[in-house]
């Protein structure tokens, strides 16, 4: 478990004057599933494309399944399974034809494995791809991405456009066919409620930076919502890890990371504080649109 299957260090990428990824560092231990969370346009797809060597990066070190994506992209593709966002496949081919078409590109392609995925994912073999439902074509994309038994699997928003039942099925397949077999998975998603059940770790990407990475379970313990009195806000500088501040009269509702630390401090000073847990959705929102600066605004306003 100590080896990283995916290692990203200080990755920078700009498109012209627009900075898309800034100093992104991410380690994914072998066998873990990591969900990459972020709003639209925060650099998720750019990062995934960089991991696969589909995009030259400005600077930074990348290693995926033991390969450098920039220089060993052929070997990398043999070791990695990839499903693009809205994966396009030749619509006039059938599932079987697609498998025959792809097989020569992959020395480790396993025909019987491809066959068993088609069977397990319930994909019709002799129907043209353009006639498949959205769910079926995502599953076909996954089947062909896995048919060469890759160690590392990279999925760009695989659940996009799937109905709730198909999403659940898809998660089940992810758990059964990837996690249980010890593969390393990185996937991007917007569906946070589902990510919680499936991912070992989450990484929150915002405006080109990873603002938080950690085990899914400890993230939910560390980030909490506290209700505190205005007196506390006026008396001390903003605590570290503050993510959001809202005011209601003489009460403040704050969201804070590493909440245990601040809670301990406040209770030792004799303040009564109420803390409550948050959903992954709320945590994500606090990270990407939280307004921690309101703390110091209040402190300044009260002094004036």
């Amino acid at each position: 478990m100590s080896d990283s299957a995916i290692s990203v260090q200080h990755l920078h990428k700009s498109f012209g004057p627009q900075v898309v990824l800034q100093d992104v560092t991410l380690e994914v231990p072998a066998g873990q599933t990591v969900a990459l969370l972020g709003r639209n346009g925060t650099g998720k797809t750019t990062m995934i494309r960089a991991l696969l060597g589909l995009l030259p990066v400005d600077s930074g070190n990348l290693k995926v399944a033991g390969c450098n994506p920039a220089t060993e992209s052929v070997e990398l593709r043999r070791r990695v399974g990839y499903l693009a966002e809205d994966q396009s496949m030749y619509g006039w081919m059938t599932a079987i034809e697609l498998c025959r078409f792809l097989q020569p590109f992959y020395p480790h392609w396993n025909t019987s494995l491809a066959d068993s995925y088609l069977k397990r994912f319930d994909i019709p073999r002799q129907v043209r791809i353009e006639r498949l439902s959205k769910g079926q074509s995502v599953k076909l994309g996954l089947a062909v991405a896995l048919a060469h038994a890759p160690q590392v699997v990279i999925l760009d928003d695989p659940a996009l456009g799937l109905d709730p039942v198909s999403r659940k099925e898809f998660n089940r397949d992810l758990v059964e066919h990837l996690q249980a077999e010890g593969r390393t998975v990185i996937y991007s998603s917007h569906l946070l409620d589902e990510v919680e059940a499936v991912a070992d770790q989450v990484a929150i990407l915002d405006r080109g930076r990873i603002v938080r990475q950690g085990p899914t379970e400890s993230l939910r313990e560390d980030v909490q919502r506290l209700v505190i009195s205005a007196e506390i806000v006026r008396q001390r500088p903003a605590p570290t890890g503050l993510l959001d501040v809202r005011r209601a009269g003489e009460q403040f509702e704050i969201v804070i990371d590493d909440a245990g630390h601040f809670l301990g401090e406040l209770t030792s000073q004799g303040y009564a504080v109420t803390a409550s847990g948050m959903t992954l959705d709320d945590i994500f929102e606090a990270y990407v649109i939280g307004r921690p600066e309101k703390w110091s605004d209040t402190a300044i306003a009260s002094k004036a």
């Binding site: 873990q32 996690q179 109420t274």
Partner: protein, 131 residues
Amino acid sequence: MFVHIERGSSIPISRQIAEQLRSQCLSGLLSAGQKLPSVRELAQQLAVNVNTVFRIYERLAAEGLIELRHGDGTYVCPPKTQADAQLALQREKFQKEFDALIQQGVMLGYSAADFRARLTLAMATARKQQQ
């Protein structure tokens, strides 16, 4: 065995599953000696991370509720070994009720000093009753 997960709840999924399994063991709904699904099976059934399920099983085993027999499977323990878990469960319940009570007190305008005074008084009464 039935486990229901509420997605998007403020209670983490791991805790939801652990609590349901725990109460099913303690209530006898899962009887002693009964074999539970394997980690992989339960993970797949619930569409939940394999490592999460593994950690839940480990925790329940540490509480003496279930037993992980290597190479065989996971079994529900007899009630004797479950006594510790019962205590842990009741303590957890007490904690929750206590926290809720404090929260209610805060809403009613009690300060930390008020609580402390109240606690000293209550402790004294409790000690007297024990004697």
